[in-house]
Each structure stands twice: as structure tokens, then as C-alpha cells.
């Protein structure tokens, strides 16, 4: 069973599991600073997974995407986020999360759904990493769940970025990554989106004196 899988696939599975673990940790994390840390770690695990895939398959563009992940998701984005956290002065902010075990329970349900949905797709795929497709989908869903349950705008952004991590993992595991052009495009998009959102944060705070998105409920027409 398990013993017949080559070491590289096992490593990728391990990293995928770590990514999933970190996704759950982010779901349960209250403090903004630790959240960004976890996000950086998730990027690192993703980078390593891609690197292992690159080494084992010898595909050159996977090296590039691993490097890109390292630059963007482990270094650049967390740095921007740290700066934002510091400038917005929300370092020690604690979010009131309702009942973490319940959220985790929902998360576990999502994992089951994700795996079952991914099962037929992964059977079509022939890569050594196809087993992680379910995890990738689960990470996307968990990130979505995180965005739904959070009230602070910045943690929603982290959720959004984590979702991108999941998509990236899906691409790597199902087809050994997207074409380079697409990948670069997405990377640029994420970066630009991040910067724009950073600008928005300041605007939002100036407007509402808080980053709590519940205040935006006032914006509706009534």
C-alpha cells in the first residue's frame, strides 16, 4: 500500500498535510501577528512541496515556481502584512472568534467533502502527486471558511492569500503547475491586489476608525 509510493511522493504528501495542518491552525488563530506567521509557514511548506516535485520530475519551470513562491509568499507578502499590522497598530489585536471547536468541526466536514469531490478528478490525473489534490481543495475551502468567520479586514486578506496557496497546490499536484505565464500573472495579481488592499485598509480605518468589517454594513442603501 503505502510502502510502494516513492519517497518524493511521500514527502509531497507530508508537506501537503502540513499545509492542511497550518490551514487549520490559521482557522483557530486569534492573534493577527501569529496569523501572518502561520501564513508565511504555509508558504514555506508550499515552496518545499513544489521543490520536491521539481527535483523528482526534473521539470525546470517548477523550480521557478518554487522560487517565486519563496520570494512572494514567504518573504514579500508576509513582510507587507507585517508592515501593515505595525502601521495600523493592530499587532496584539484579538479577534472574538465564536467557538473554535465548532469552526474546526465544520472544517473537518469540509475536508471530507473536499476529498470526496476531488476523488474522481485525481483518478484522471497521472502525476505522482495526485493524492494531494483533495488536500488542496480542502485548503481552499478552509480559507474560504476563514474569510467567512472573520470580522477583521486584514485576516480576510490573509484568508484570501491562503486560498491562493491552496489553488497553487492544486495546480502543482494535478498537472505539475500552471504554464509559467499564468503563474507569473497570478503572482503579479496577488502582489498588486495586496498593495491595493493595503491602501484600502488605511482608507477604511480613516473612515470607520476600525478595521472591523461589521461597520461596513452601514454602507448599504436604506
Amino acid at each position: 500500500m503505502t510502502a510502494s509510493i516513492p519517497l518524493s511522493a511521500q514527502l509531497i504528501n507530508l508537506f501537503a498535510a502540513v499545509i492542511l495542518l497550518l490551514a487549520f491552525a490559521m482557522l483557530a488563530q486569534r492573534r493577527m501577528h501569529s496569523l501572518v506567521n502561520l501564513f508565511a509557514l504555509q508558504g514555506l511548506a508550499l515552496c518545499l512541496a513544489t521543490l520536491v516535485a521539481a527535483v523528482s520530475t526534473g521539470q525546470v519551470h517548477l523550480y521557478f515556481s518554487a522560487g517565486l513562491t519563496l520570494l512572494l509568499k514567504v518573504l514579500a507578502l508576509p513582510w507587507i502584512l507585517y508592515r501593515l499590522v505595525r502601521q495600523l497598530n493592530i499587532k496584539g489585536d484579538v479577534e472574538a472568534l465564536i467557538n473554535i471547536p465548532t469552526i474546526m468541526l465544520v472544517g473537518i466536514g469540509l475536508v471530507m467533502v473536499a476529498f470526496n469531490v476531488a476523488l474522481p478528478i485525481s483518478e484522471l490525473s497521472h502525476t505522482i502527486t495526485r493524492g494531494t489534490l483533495g488536500i488542496a481543495l480542502a485548503v481552499v475551502m478552509l480559507a474560504f471558511l476563514m474569510m467567512i468567520t472573520r470580522q477583521k479586514a486584514i485576516s480576510q486578506v490573509v484568508g484570501f492569500l491562503s486560498m491562493e496557496n491552496g489553488l497553487f497546490l492544486a495546480a502543482t499536484s494535478a498537472t505539475y503547475g500552471m504554464p509559467m505565464v499564468v503563474e507569473l500573472g497570478i503572482a503579479l495579481d496577488v502582489l498588486v491586489g495586496m498593495i491595493i488592499l493595503g491602501v484600502f485598509f488605511f482608507q477604511i480605518r480613516d473612515q470607520f476608525d476600525s478595521l472591523d468589517i461589521r461597520h461596513m454594513e452601514k454602507l448599504k442603501d436604506s
Partner: protein, 669 residues
């Protein structure tokens, strides 16, 4: 006795119970005679039933036809391994309870002891007949006798209004259940009109109708067993009844419902569809979780045990669900494992729950108090009851080396195999369900510690408790008997399972005996010794040996000196009994963590109250969400129908006339 089959012996036992009951009615004035002679005689008959059941296990099915009842409808009777298993349960448990009753009803004056004796023994005889019935007619007659006699037993103290209400609620739900069972039998005859079980076995039904029959059986027997949402009668009826009756209902009567469900789903219906198992599993899990959570927050000791019974029935339903799933996929060795867990848990629960209910009976007699908040420290005046109850709570918490753990262990072993199920969702969801089973088991430990700690340990919460007296000799015999059953089931699982194997084989065609026979009696390894094993005897002996050895060593190497002093009072002078946890206080973590599960009315003291007090009242969501709306609907419909009631005979005649006309026009051949 040559020439007499086991079935005949059991019939004689049923007749003997009836005779004892009638004697009780005739000798109602001689309280000593009824309590000291007739109840012990009933216990002997119970022992007789148990021994006959054990002897009948593994034999061929025996049938008989009794020409009583309606002219064309004789009672068909049959004794096979399944009924023998439950007859053992009935016989051995009732033996203990009857002996206990001899002491319990002997003290003080119990009004109407004669009728009580009749009802009690009629109850026993009808349960035996339920197990032996081999046609729907005999089954329903026995079932209804059982429901009615137990209703009268519940309402023994009928002068209190709440007890009457509890009785009516019980009767109502028992009848809803009976309707379900009747419909189920109706479906299973397949319209052939032959109501004997033999005909039902040979009936080929369409899948839709088999599923309908299963669901009706689950609802019907579930109402009797206390599956959610038909559980509401249990926590009302159990505290209302005298303790031996509660013990009998909880320990034995609930199991007859399990018997019925097993009979229908594995014997009478010969196809199994996998989603039946899922339904039973989900209902069982909800029941177990609900039962255990509510058990932890009760303040009435008998209600606590009643909810704990709901939990145990839930666990049995989970095991039945697992059996059904395995059986549907043809994995019969694993189905046999889960089925063994079902039967074992039935036996184990019968033993320890009756034991605990009887202990509450002794406490109730000694203190006249059911409210946990007014008990405490009873281990000092009542050491016998306290130490025997300890065996009950260890088994009830599902801990080694007593009986509750064996069945839980078997069930979890069954769950460990569920990833092999050939179904993409089940093989993932079912193992996770095991997590909830474990949570239930762990919560049961909480409830049991609360039960024991608040009643028997700590300081006495009321001064009057000092005068409490220990259980009398009859009661002790009954309690010790049940504790011995619990111990035996706990440490000799292999021996018991080898016996029960006949029943599993009969239902599933597979059993555990092949692997168990190769191993010693002390070892329980249902699949193989490498896979999993449990040797409760060794666990017990090791703990006991370490206990004695360490005690001896400490005393001989050091000393055994003891000084007595007052407990440390944190520097306050008023470390009285009120400083201890109350029953409410003990369950506060549960109420807080599982807050949405409960319907709570709380009163907190305000800042400037001159007489501050805290109170909490926990009620059942189902009562408000499910039963009261139905009751209101029923009231509303009746109010509508009242308008038809004009009060004039002519109008009533007209209704009949119009009905007749419509029927004549509609019902054409």
C-alpha cells in the same frame, strides 16, 4: 427432566410467575408473606429462567403451539438462540431485583402490596412471553401486557399528580410505539394475512416495503427503548416508579425492545440495505450524545440514571447500525463482531444499571430524598451500598476491568475495521463516528463521578442524613448478585462470548467462536492476538496485586500510623457542607461548554440582592420543539372537531347516515 424441552421449562416459569402474582393478590394482607416468601420465590424462578436459557443456547430452535387466545389464532411459540440470550438477561437480572424487592417492599407499609406483587410478576411473565412469541398476535398480546403492567407499576404512587402524568406519558408513547410495531408486522406479512413469524421469514418483499418495515420497527421499538426523539417518557417514568421497578424497566424492559429490533431486522427481514445501518447509527449517536449530556446536568439521582439509560440504548443502536452496515456489504465476520458488542452491551447494561437503580432505592429508603443537592457523605452510614455502587459506576463509565468496558472495546474494534467498507463516503464518515462514541463514553464517566461523588462522598448536606441506615440483608443479597454479574461479565468476556456466539451465528451466519476457541479463557482477541487483545483478568489481578503489595511494603518498611484531624479550611471558619460543590455546580462545565444543547432557565444573583440565590433549570429541547407543537396541533384539531358536536341526536344520526352513504358509493368491489 427428560421429555421436557427448554421451551416447556420456560413456559412453566412464566406460569409460575403468574401463579406467584396471583398468590400475592390473594395474600395481600400478609405483608411479610408477600415480601419475604413470594418475591424470593420469584427470584428463584428468575434463576430458573436464566439457567434454562444458558442450557438452551446453542441448541436447535424449539417450537410449540399454545391453544389459548382466540379460537383460530393459537399462540405460536419458539425458543431459539436469540430469545435464549435475552431470556438469560431477563432471568438473571430479575433474580437479583426480586431478591432485593423482598427487602425493599418489606420495609414500611407499601399500599397495595398485593396488587404490586401481581403487576410485578405479570410484568416478568409478559416479558418472557415477548421473547418466546413466534407470531405477531402472540407478540402483540405479550407486548401490550408488558406495557400495561409496567404502566401500573410506574403509577404505584398514584396519589401524586406528577407520577400520574409520567404514567400517562409513558402509556401514550408506548402505544405510539405499539402502532409502529403493528404496522411493521402488517407490512411484513406482505398482504398474505398469515401473521406467524415463520410466514414472514419466507415472505419476499419489494425493497421499498422491506425498508418501510425496518423504519417502522426502528420507530416502534425505538419508542420503547428510548431512542431520540421518542425518549421523553424515560426520564419521567423512571423516577416515578419504585426503584426495583425502575431497575427492571431500565435493565430488562428496554432490552426487549432491542430484542424486537434485532428479531425484525436480522431474522424476519432477510435482506439488509446499507442505509438502514446509517440511519440506526445516526439515531444512536444522537441518542447517546443527548442522553449523556442530559445525564450530567440532572439533579435528581434517578433522572440522572434514566438519561444514562438513554445513552446506553444509543450506544446499542450505534452497534446495531454498524452491524447492519457490515452485514449489508457481506462482511459477516465483522458484523459478528459488532453484533457481539450489541448483545454484550445489553447484558452489561442490564447488570450495572439495575445495580445502580437499586442503590438509589436503598438511598431513597434510608433518606427519603432523591435530590442530589440534599445528599452526601452516605458512604459512612451505608458502606455496603456505597461500595457496591462503586462497581456499578465503574462499569457504567465503561472502564476496565468491569463489564461496560468489554462491549465498548468490542464496538471500537468494530469501528476500526470500517475503513474497509466498499463505499466512498461510509469508509470515511463511519470511523469518525467512533470519535463521538468515545466522547460519549468519556462523558459517561463524568456523569457517573457526579452521581457517586455527590451521593456517597463529601460531607452530609443535611443533618438528617446521619440517621440513614444501610441496606438490609435481602437488599444486600440482590445488590451483591448484580455486582457479581457485572464483575463476571467484566473479567470473563471470552467465556460469555463463546456462549453468545450461538445467537450471532443464528442471525448472521458467522461468529467469533473460531478465533476465541483457540485462545485461553482469560483472553479476548476477537480477530487475532496480534490484531487486538484484552485480558481483563490480568488487568484486575495486576492492579489488585500491586495494591496489596505496595500496601504491605509501605507498612512493613515504614509504618501504618494514622492521625485524625479536621480538614484544612483555607483559614475560614465556615468550611461546612455548603462549601462543597452542589450538584448544579459539578455539572457547570458541561452546561457551559455544551450550552446550545440545553434549554436553560437561570437566575443569577444581582449586585444588591439582600437574599441572593442562584438557580438553574434545565429542560429538554425536544419537549418544546417537538412535543408541545404536536400537542397544540392536536388541541387545535380537536377544537375544530368540537364544532361538529351539536348535541342533538338527530344531527349525530345524520353524520352516521352520510358516512354510510359515502362508503356505499365509494367502496365498490
Amino acid at each position: 427432566m427428560p421429555g421436557l424441552l427448554s421451551l416447556d421449562l420456560l413456559l412453566i416459569a412464566a406460569a409460575a410467575w403468574l401463579a406467584i402474582g396471583l398468590c400475592g393478590l390473594l395474600a395481600a394482607r400478609h405483608q411479610a408473606l408477600v415480601s419475604q416468601v413470594l418475591f424470593p420465590a420469584g427470584a428463584l424462578v428468575g434463576l430458573w429462567v436464566g439457567v434454562t436459557g444458558i442450557a438452551a443456547l446453542g441448541g436447535d430452535p424449539q417450537t410449540a403451539v399454545l391453544a389459548i387466545g382466540l379460537p383460530d389464532l393459537p399462540f405460536h411459540l419458539r425458543l431459539d438462540n436469540l430469545s435464549a440470550t435475552f431470556a438469560i438477561l431477563l432471568g438473571l437480572t430479575s433474580a437479583g431485583i426480586s431478591v432485593y424487592s423482598a427487602g425493599y417492599f418489606g420495609k414500611g407499609d407499601v399500599a397495595g402490596l398485593g396488587t404490586l406483587c401481581l403487576e410485578y410478576h405479570l410484568f416478568l411473565a409478559s416479558m418472557l412471553m415477548v421473547l418466546l412469541a413466534d407470531d405477531a398476535y402472540a407478540f402483540m398480546v405479550a407486548w401490550e401486557c408488558m406495557a400495561l403492567s409496567s404502566f401500573f407499576l410506574v403509577t404505584t404512587d398514584h396519589k401524586h399528580e406528577e407520577i400520574r402524568n409520567a404514567g400517562f406519558l409513558y402509556l401514550l408513547i408506548a402505544h405510539i410505539g405499539a402502532i409502529g410495531i403493528l404496522l411493521c408486522f402488517g407490512v411484513m406479512t406482505g398482504g398474505a394475512g398469515d401473521y406467524s413469524f415463520a410466514a414472514m421469514r419466507s415472505q419476499e418483499l419489494a425493497p421499498f416495503w422491506t425498508s418501510a418495515a425496518f423504519l417502522l420497527a426502528l420507530a416502534g421499538f425505538g419508542a420503547k427503548a428510548g431512542l431520540v426523539p421518542l425518549h421523553v417518557w424515560l426520564p419521567e417514568a423512571h423516577p416515578a416508579a419504585p426503584s426495583p421497578v425502575s431497575a427492571m424497566m431500565s435493565g430488562v424492559m428496554l432490552k426487549t425492545a432491542i430484542y424486537g429490533l434485532l428479531r425484525v431486522s436480522f431474522d424476519l427481514l432477510h435482506t439488509t440495505i446499507w442505509w438502514w445501518g446509517v440511519v440506526a447509527l445516526v439515531v444512536g449517536l444522537v441518542t447517546a450524545l443527548f442522553g449523556v449530556l442530559y445525564a450530567t446536568v440532572q439533579n435528581d439521582m434517578k433522572r440522572l440514571l434514566a438519561y444514562s439509560s438513554i445513552e446506553n440504548i444509543g450506544l446499542i443502536a450505534v452497534a446495531i447500525g454498524l452491524t447492519l452496515i457490515f452485514h449489508a456489504y457481506g462482511m459477516d465476520a465483522l458484523a459478528a463482531l459488532a453484533m457481539t458488542a450489541v448483545l454484550y452491551h445489553c447484558l452489561a447494561h442490564a447488570g450495572f444499571k439495575s445495580l445502580l437503580f437499586l442503590c438509589t432505592g436503598s438511598v431513597l429508603h434510608a433518606t427519603q430524598e432523591r435530590n442530589l443537592g440534599k445528599l452526601g457523605g452516605l458512604i459512612h452510614p451505608m458502606p455496603w451500598v456505597a461500595w457496591l455502587a462503586l462497581a456499578g459506576i465503574i462499569a457504567g463509565a465503561g472502564l476496565p476491568p468491569l463489564s461496560g468496558f468489554v462491549s465498548e472495546w468490542l464496538l471500537l474494534q468494530g469501528f476500526l475495521f470500517s475503513p474497509g467498507l466498499p463505499h466512498p463516503w461510509l469508509n470515511m464518515v463511519v470511523p469518525v463516528a467512533a470519535a463521538l462514541v468515545v466522547l460519549v463514553a468519556a462523558l459517561a464517566g463524568f456523569a457517573m463521578v457526579k452521581f457517586y461523588g455527590i451521593i456517597f462522598l463529601g460531607q452530609m448536606r443535611e443533618p438528617a442524613l446521619k440517621d440513614a441506615h444501610d441496606a438490609g440483608p435481602w437488599e444486600r443479597v440482590g445488590l451483591v448478585w448484580l455486582a457479581l454479574i457485572t464483575l463476571f461479565l467484566g473479567v470473563m468476556p471470552s467465556t460469555v462470548i463463546l456462549r453468545l456466539d450461538a445467537a450471532t451465528r443464528q442471525l448472521l451466519g458467522a461468529g467469533l467462536s473460531d478465533t476465541l476457541k483457540e485462545q485461553g479463557w482469560w483472553m479476548l482477541a476477537p480477530i487475532s492476538a496480534e490484531r487486538a487483545s484484552y485480558e481483563p483478568m490480568l488487568v484486575l489481578v495486576t492492579i489488585a496485586a500491586t495494591l496489596l503489595l505496595s500496601r504491605w511494603l509501605v507498612r512493613s518498611l515504614y509504618h501504618g500510623r494514622v492521625r485524625r484531624s479536621s480538614p484544612w479550611d483555607c483559614g475560614y471558619h465556615f468550611e461546612g457542607p455548603r462549601a462543597q460543590d452542589t450538584a448544579e455546580g459539578f455539572s457547570q462545565p458541561i452546561r457551559r461548554i455544551f450550552e446550545p444543547v440545553f434549554r436553560m432557565q437561570r437566575h443569577f444573583p444581582a449586585a444588591r440582592d439582600t437574599q441572593p440565590f442562584y438557580s438553574v433549570k434545565v429542560e429538554d429541547h425536544f419537549w418544546y420543539w417537538c412535543y408541545l407543537p404536536i400537542a397544540r396541533l392536536a388541541n387545535w384539531i380537536s377544537a375544530l372537531i368540537v364544532t361538529l358536536q351539536g348535541g342533538r341526536i338527530a344531527i349525530y344520526l345524520m353524520y352516521s347516515f352520510i358516512t354510510l352513504l359515502v362508503l356505499l358509493m365509494v367502496a365498490r368491489p
